[in-house]
């Protein structure tokens, strides 16, 4: 149990996917303009990450031992198609949920955070429950980063920012400072692990 909690917290804050591994930067810069969009994007990410963890675990356990060189292709194709099917199912079963998350799903299917989760999970040889915990942690971490970033950017809109700093440059500097703040978590749990 302690292990699972550790995996969750490590993925969420200590090694935050976006701010310390640079995974999922496209949505981080693209959709962090408004708070509610950022939050919904985060939720959609958590959802796809969970699907990914299950798919990757299944592939690693049953299929890939027979064909290790197909790992990358198998991950991408299976994850993309499963997300597509789940998307169709949600559209039928719960239109409200689809309204909230649907438009983001195709965008994040081949996002590097998704593939990164599958690969890290493979490298560390996580079992089923550990993978789920890792995916949840990663998703919460991504959501946290997105929401923080959106909060700062909304505030920044009202400030007088120098011309040359506008746009991407400003976002990167903000991300750098957020990332520095998250480095404060480094060393957390080092005594336990």
């Amino acid at each position: 149990m302690g292990d699972l909690l550790w995996i969750f917290v490590a993925a969420a804050v200590v090694n935050n996917f976006t701010l310390s591994w640079f995974l999922g930067l496209c949505p981080f810069l693209g959709v962090s303009g408004r708070l509610d969009t950022a939050f919904r994007m985060g939720l959609a990410n958590i959802f796809v990450l969970l699907v990914t963890a299950v798919c990757a675990w299944f592939l690693n356990a049953f299929i890939l031992p027979h064909a290790p060189y197909l790992r990358l292709i198998a991950f991408i194709v299976v994850i993309a198609s499963v997300v597509q099917f789940v998307e169709m199912a949600i559209r039928k079963l719960s239109p409200a949920l689809f309204e909230a998350l649907g438009i983001f799903l195709p965008l994040i299917t081949t996002n590097c955070a998704i593939l990164g989760l599958a690969l890290f999970q493979t490298n560390r040889e996580y079992g089923f429950v550990e993978s789920i915990s890792f995916a949840l942690g990663a998703g919460v971490g991504l959501t946290l980063a997105l929401v923080l970033m959106a909060g700062v950017r909304v505030e920044n809109e009202l400030r007088d920012v120098p011309d040359v700093l506008e746009g991407a440059a400003m976002s990167f500097l903000v991300a750098g400072i957020l990332s520095m703040a998250f480095m404060g978590f480094a060393g957390l749990f080092s005594g336990v692990a």
Binding site: L19, S20, W21, F22, L23, G24, L25, C26, L29, Y69, R71, L72, I73, I76, V77, A80, T110, N111, C112, I114, L115, G116, L119, F120, N123, D163, V164, L165, A168, A169, M170, S171, F172, L173, A175, G176, I177, S179, M180, M183
Partner: protein, 205 residues
């Protein structure tokens, strides 16, 4: 934007600076920031990306008439993933140290939106020669950007370049530059410098 370039030469030049994939198009940021804590990693990453980008551009462009429109993205991704797998295994066999250092980021070249973007926007619509020139230009531009980031971060963060110490023992390295925040800060400040240069040029003419 100007009229579409017509010569192979222009296809190549475009990617170097004017449409630089990292600094102008902001594509492929994940590898550009994650592995550039030293110049040598930046070179390895650019070489692997160049191989994948050129290989997939040539293949996609030569198959462009037989790829059905509806499944083109899927086809591109499978082509790219194949080349990445080749690059991954080649690096593992030839340079195991570099492979270990870059870790999962070699495999993550698949998710580099620069490569998929070039297939969709260029390789699938142009002849093999032009697609190769475009891919080579974009890869070189990507390499230039990575080398700048890696060079700056290694010089400031470790006081060395390609592992050769530059300043002697009295230099106190800025550890932050080789840690994740350094990546964000370096690219942010570089973008500020470029915006400033652009403004100067615009003001002068």
């Amino acid at each position: 934007m100007a009229a579409p370039p017509t010569t192979v030469n222009e296809d190549f030049i475009r990617g170097l600076w004017k449409e630089n994939p990292v600094f102008v198009q902001l594509l492929g940021l994940c590898p550009a920031l994650a592995v550039t804590n030293s110049a040598i990693n930046a070179v390895a990453m650019s070489a692997a990306t160049a191989f994948v980008l050129c290989g997939s551009s040539v293949l996609v462009s030569s198959m462009r008439s037989i790829i059905p429109k509806q499944v083109r993205i899927t086809t591109f991704i499978i082509v790219i993933a194949t080349f990445v797998t080749v690059a991954d295994f080649t690096l593992m066999a030839l340079l195991p140290d570099v492979h270990k250092e870059l870790g999962a980021f070699i495999a993550l070249i698949v998710a580099n939106c620069l490569i998929l973007g070039r297939q969709e926007a260029f390789a699938s619509r142009n002849t093999v020669g032009r697609a190769l020139a475009d891919a080579a230009g974009m890869s070189t531009g990507f390499g230039i950007a990575l080398l700048m980031l890696g060079g700056i971060r290694e010089i400031l963060g470790s006081g060395s370049l390609f592992g050769v110490s530059l300043f002697g023992d009295s230099f106190e390295p800025w550890i932050i530059m080789i840690l994740p925040p350094g990546g964000f800060l370096t690219i942010g400040l570089l973008l500020v410098v470029f915006a400033r240069m652009e403004r100067r040029k615009g003001g002068a003419s």
